[in-house]
Symmetry: C2
Subunit: 357 residues, 2 copies
């Protein structure tokens, strides 16, 4: 088990070695390690070597000068100047929150960024302001629209964070696919097949090959197949792509660049925009009804759903419940890392002169 | 086949007989018949008798005095005064469009309304203003959250309409469930079982009983089961419910009233708000980048996806393609109605003195 604070300090120091400012390095480490805390291991420190490869490939600017390139009282387009998405997205959320303060809601579309970590982190930044937060991002093409053989969409996640009064907040944070790619990677390591409905093969046939994506196959949209509504998951992923990419002037569809250097994720050539795109928003509760009134009803919503009669041996969960339980546990007991991740971080630490211990 | 114009005239006259103003009746008929045109038969004139029952039950105010009860430059909460959702939602979209004109984006949460027809109609109202339109609504509880035995959510649809330049617009319009209830009704009439992944029985077990809902079962969220991401469909439906119901002061969760008088759809007692809730929004394209630039890239997005290599015997569709093709065909050839729907409309017409022919 690795104490949270030590992982964060290590991550912070790695980003400083890349040339990030102390403030940016601190924030980036906080976003990354919060994924480990919340149990989204695929988006945590396991990705740190990827960010370093991104830097080495010249795709990451450690000292970005972000600027608003287009603006109205309620909206903005932010150019991330190839900075860490981990830092660009919180900046964008700050702008959204400020705009919401003035006109009730704020929406920021972001171009020229890269992987922003877990979407939920950014959405949750709105909570302390008594606002609903939203965050979404496009990503390298791993997903086929319904009936497509070509991968055209990323796992394109959406997060929505909603404040409550006495209850903990509602935090939905999910990919628009049947399953996140990280879940497939676990099966690959275990050498077991994937459940039906997760992937298709290169010809578009249903498949249970956990390696399907490395063999020209694809992740399936939420819904898995046409009969069970995959066109809805496709529509959702498409909306995320359009809001994040087309609205901001970032790349979209097959042009979204891969997170780091994983060859099988390589997008199309000839970029149609700048980097990866995100979209974030903030809605002031009291722009719609008194905040306390809203939050009292939100408590009632949460209690009603959490206390609903469940199928045998299960409980009805509120979005955000599992992640919060995990965070409580891991803040106390530390964060488990796989031997492979530890080995990667040790190599990284030696290379950058930041001992991992 | 029934000519579009005749169905619309009949529908308009029925609403006038209920006491709606000619303008409101015209608009309501346009929304309702547009569902038939676009192939969403479950939300078209087949529902007209339901709206009349709603009126007879004293739940529909034919002469609503809608008012904005809360407002900021970018947001509003609209009280629909128990008016037809078919009329309340377009009014809310007008407000959202006006706000977007001034501050870039406009968002309106609506309470005290009822069934608003097809979500896509309202979202598409933004298109002519070079805006992205969004519309969503909560609905009577037919859906169980993951692991729940109790129905707590409606089919809670979301629509997003995005303008393009030379290409027709992108119009996603989908329920947050594996399947719409109308599809189950078709199977009920045919007496055939439902595909796996659509419904569960009263104990929460997977079921293929097309009558499951009348027998205490439920529709499943998009994703169908936990392994294939039903918690994501649940999260999506929950967000729609919170934006439409909790934000506006309408009912939410199990308290959302049924569309008309279908007993098995009856919600919980003791309302927690006023009527049904909706949420609509409009985003000005040029609040983010020059509109022509956006639309040119949107054309590229649409062409790229539509021309992607498809699985054998299929094509990759853009959200909105099937509905538009259907509309073209039905505007020319007329709208097919089932004998049961025709019989219902004939009875309705005789009762209200509006001959259906």
């Amino acid at each position: 088990m690795h104490p949270y604070s030590r992982l964060q300090a290590f991550t912070r120091q790695v980003f400083i070695q890349l040339g990030c400012s102390p403030n940016d390095a601190e924030l980036a480490a906080d976003v990354l390690v919060s994924a480990d805390l919340r149990g989204v291991d695929s988006h945590g420190v396991a990705r740190l070597p990827g960010y370093v490869r991104l830097y080495e490939a010249g795709r990451l600017n450690p000292k970005p000068v972000m600027r608003v390139v287009h603006e109205t009282p309620g909206t903005a387009t932010l150019d991330g100047d190839r900075g860490l998405g981990l830092v660009v997205a919180p900046r964008a959320m700050n702008i959204a929150v400020e705009k919401a303060r003035h006109v009730g809601a704020g929406w920021v579309s972001i171009r020229n960024s890269n992987h922003f970590g877990i979407a939920g982190y950014h959405a949750m930044l709105a909570l302390e302001h008594d606002m609903i937060g939203m965050a979404m991002t496009n990503a390298a093409p791993l997903v086929t629209p319904t009936f497509s053989r070509q991968r055209l969409l990323g796992t394109n996640p959406i997060a929505v964070a909603v404040p409550a009064l006495h209850q903990p907040p509602f935090v939905a944070d999910f990919a628009s696919t049947a399953v996140a790619y990280g879940k497939l990677e676990i099966l690959q390591r275990q050498g077991v097949p994937a459940p039906e409905g997760w992937v298709q093969d290169r010809d578009g046939n249903p498949s249970t090959d956990a390696d399907a994506i490395r063999n020209g196959g694809a992740l399936l949209p939420l819904g898995s197949d046409r009969e069970r509504g995959s066109h809805k998951g496709y529509g959702l992923g498409a909306v995320v792509d359009i809001f994040s990419g087309v609205l901001s002037g970032a790349n979209y569809g097959p042009w979204v660049p891969p997170f780091a250097t994983a060859g099988f994720m390589a997008g199309a050539g000839n970029p149609v925009g700048l980097g990866t795109g995100h979209f974030v928003g903030a809605l002031r509760l009291d722009a719609f009804r008194p905040a306390e009134e809203f939050k009292t009803h939100m408590d009632n919503w949460i209690r009603t759903f959490r206390n609903a009669p469940a199928v045998a041996g299960q409980r009805v969960l509120i979005p955000g419940d599992p992640e919060r339980a995990c965070e409580t546990e891991r803040r106390a007991a530390g964060i488990p890392l796989s031997p492979a991740v530890i080995a990667d971080l040790e190599i990284l630490g030696r290379k950058l002169g930041v001992p991992f211990a």
